[in-house]
Symmetry: D2
Subunit: 346 residues, 4 copies
């Protein structure tokens, strides 16, 4: 019963099939091969963005941090949520890749930045002068680290504020597929049509072995990016094996199918948590369930072999309850969800 | 007829089998899984180094540059050959990862550093004072960028000079397997028994999809390395898929079998080049053939679809000949070698 | 009437005299001169730290950021106050010099870190694993950015927590002299005797033109520091002109006299503010006055030519009052203080 | 008898006078003061460049490295001479500030880059693709590290090649004044009129305590430069004391007078060296004398207290002679020159 993360689960058979297909004799290296061409084209189609620059890397941290370095100078201020993955979970990768940029983190319920909060922060940053660094970019995560989603309208509101200040908007889409699945909107609507300038489209948490697409909707923003990626050790010589994974996901809507599946499992799990007396800390909008349970329930679940992380939530402080995060993948076994449900019900 | 590099060829079926085997339900992420454990253990066995710290990354550039950052401060001097991959082919990755170290490049025939050259350079560096930076480490490539190999004795001589000056010795072993295959010595003899402190053991050019092992023989030298790797975006969440590749290579001597195969093909190719009137620029000691051919031969080969790189060699200057590099992989088709032989023979 | 900062004021005549004296014919460059020797010795005497490594740089940002880079790896977590100068006012210099370290900022009244806060934060950081980076160092400012001071006991409490976790303690002493002057304790008591490992002893805000001393009490912590300073462009060829400034301050207790003078002026000003109906936001313990005044008073003062900064203080929110910072230097004219007092009194 | 460098000598009285004049009560910090305004204006006048952005830093290493970081991305190739100060004497500062750029060093007699050499190197670099990094900028030193000078025509030839390739041209002018003094041309002719994009105009080696001007002739190239300088700890709070030094040098042609004086002394010294049987390795075109003397002469001079550096010159190899560098400053005592002349004469 592993609900620790969606990255603990397997790669989809179609991904393996694509890798096998890509494993013919000789192919040009460093991305000059046909599989890479096809995968880039598939991603541009998926995003209805024929001019976009698409590149593949193997980890979400690399994807996000390379984009930060592309969009922010060393002395830049990068606005993001307090709980943004780039702030909490990447070991300072954005600071390392940018060579010193400052993450300016902002509060917001459920992992969501409110437009007013962003607007004030950007204005404050502009007043900082040399002391505080230069306003450089805004980064949001969709689906958020709290399992909630930004709608296209919400993205557009944040994009408008960013653009008014001359700042590009980055979307960390490690779970972009889950957000799109929940919203039922097109990837285009949720990204460039809403003002997103750079997207990290996650594959690893959605059926790939290790593959993410970095997308710059305006090619001008991608200038020099291949050098940057190379210098960071993130250009693969056998690039077709990265590309094949994304190609598989982009083919016949597999990315969406898998996300729909994972979301549905989380929905069932969220209901089970409530049935068992747990309290949802956020609505279940993607593939994560954030809940508060009693210490007894927590111990019972762990004793039964359930594996998941605590998830600090100030709103729970003082209640005696244990806040937790449960994540479902496309292939989380239904019986595990049922079993956890039974355990929670006591 | 692709002789451009060994990285243009396929992954071995055993690597795919290992990936498939690793693709069971849920596994702990970030390298806490059993496949990673097994692969690390297999590498330690292969190297007869039970205490070594073994980590996996996906590219040779990442492996080398992370080791440089681990062994050199930003103000360090890193001694290497003029033609070292870290100098010529990694887009400044060592400088980027170390945050400013200076590669001090040295001449040497056939890609080999001579002990006297290294010794003098280190002494000169020590005289530089603050201006020139601080002596930090020595890096050699084995097999070299010219397809030659350092014997254990040669490695030991360079290690002794390095260690006398207090500097660790790094071996870029993108083609380590090919060197060991040529020499017929054990990996241990060619590394820690000869004084190597850190090894990048290549998999990508020898049958993997994209996997390299970074090895620190003294665990004390690996302190903080996991953080460093994480911050650079080189910790995979589904690490088992990196590990499985190296596990396959380390199992039943596959790494050696494949290298023997590639070397044998290069040997045949080298003979064919000579039969066709080409001149070998270096003895064929691994899987690369470095040769000078006539412009007519060069054009004939290219017109016939042979794909390879020119390889600047000052010794050829003024002769009118074209210096080239031809590389064989474990699966370079024999008929391609035969075909190129025929073309060269005219 | 300039109360904007202590760095807006002049250099002391003794500093100029020392510079003039240092301006004899030829002297060895890069700090190998006699003035540098004397100044280092004078600082060691002042600190009763005969083994300390003392180096001079020209700016406080350089001093702090170089120390951070010396004590934290790129993947380090540096604990400091929310309002620490290294966080708010150095344009990301610590991140730049460390190559990516994360400043983990903590709340605390009046710019002071409470031991419990630090203790909890370090424990939390240790739990972060690779995601959050590695606990690396603690940095406090004394006098703080709110004009308050840490006593030797308070420093010792924070040092004990740091050291228990294996972390060195840095003191940003841009206004160290003001703190020592207020406390009446020796520099030794306030630093190494209380567990401080590295000190930035400010000169610029206390009568120098531009000079700070960086002090490592344990020479082992200074290994390679000269290279680091050189690589950052902070080794002066005519180093005697940096050293002479600090020598002047260290001679005959000038550093303390000037701080006592500045503190006394701030004390008078603080009283004047209160007499004028202003509310002190923090007790006046050094050379800064932090106060809340009415908007009318604020406008009257500005209209009269008083120059100072607003200083956001959440405790003032909603009161309609304007929170401000007023800083005195050793040579702030008494008539300016009196004049401002009159204006505030209305 | 100190001929080690021009940075071992004193600051000019006019510089001190300017510092004293700048030391009035309160002034705005961080360069918003009137002295800074005046000094910037004076430099723009001196360079006949009314639109140029002028900033002051305290060291030549900072000036050069900040310009490199401004003009080159981390993955850039910076073309310079083998003996360029940025390569040999700045401890990797350019690599540190740029975050990884590669200095591509080129041979050239007497420290001068030949246009053909540069042209070929840039073309080779363009062929490197991702492996070698991206062509970014060209840096020359004038006067060179060998005491020779580039004429405006020579600069223009290098600038044309650089600009044809889309690369900006930087001039390290640590001894710019000496070059201009020798050539008798205007600073404008030797810089922007010849195609120089960024200039580091040295003060420290020409009568200042520690001050250099960084000049961007096209303001667009200076975008964000103040943040970059701040983040590197090179923005002085009491900036007037940096500015005052440059203002003194820029006033009434002091910069030129001092350089003429230093050059004249070198000229006398060069003659004395030849009279004593020494061989000049390069013509004396600025304030340095590069010569080969016998080991006996070398020992005699050192025994008599002469202080200077050996200066490796391959052309001297095997002759048994000792290659040395002798540098004169504006205030090198004439009797020292005479004395050294006598010693050399035997």
């Amino acid at each position: 019963m592993n609900f620790a993360s969606d990255n603990v689960f397997a790669a989809h058979p179609a991904v393996f099939a694509a890798l096998t297909k890509a494993n013919y004799g000789a192919a040009k290296s460093y991305g000059a091969d046909h599989v890479t061409d096809e995968a880039q084209e598939a991603m541009r189609d998926l995003l209805q963005a024929p001019d976009a620059v698409v590149r593949f890397v193997a980890t979400g941290t690399a994807a996000n941090a390379l984009v930060c370095a592309q969009l922010s100078p060393p002395y830049g201020r990068i606005y993001c949520h307090d709980d943004a993955h780039i702030q909490t979970s990447e070991c300072g990768a954005p600071e390392f890749f940018t060579h010193g940029a400052k993450l300016v983190t902002l509060q917001g319920d459920g992992g969501n930045l409110h437009p007013d909060t962003l607007s004030r922060a950007i204005a404050d940053g502009a007043d900082e002068g040399l002391n505080g660094g230069m306003n450089a970019m805004v980064s949001i995560t969709n689906a958020t680290e709290w399992g909630t989603v930004y709608s296209p309208d919400q993205v557009a509101a944040l994009a408008a504020i960013s653009h008014d200040a001359g700042l590009p908007l980055h979307m960390d889409g490690a779970r972009f597929s889950n957000a799109a699945a929940h919203l039922g909107c097109s990837p285009a609507e949720l990204t460039w049509k809403s003002g997103v300038d750079a997207l990290c489209f996650g594959g690893t948490k959605n059926g790939a072995m290790g593959a993410e697409a970095v997308v710059f909707f305006d090619p001008a923003r991608a200038e020099g990016f291949d050098y940057r990626r190379k210098q960071a050790g993130h250009v693969f010589s056998k690039n077709r094996f990265l590309a094949a994974q994304m190609l598989a996901l982009a083919t016949d809507g597999l990315w969406l199918d898998l996300a729909i599946r994972a979301n549905a499992k989380a929905s069932v799990l969220g209901q089970a948590v409530q049935n068992g007396g747990g309290r949802l800390l956020q609505p279940v909008q993607s593939n994560g369930v954030f809940a508060a349970i009693t210490p007894e329930t927590d111990q019972r679940a762990k004793a039964a072999g359930a594996y998941y992380y605590p998830w600090p939530d100030p709103s729970v402080a003082g209640t005696g309850l244990v806040p937790i995060r449960l994540v479902c993948a496309w292939d989380t076994p239904d019986q595990d969800i049922a079993a956890l449900g039974s355990i929670l019900a006591g």
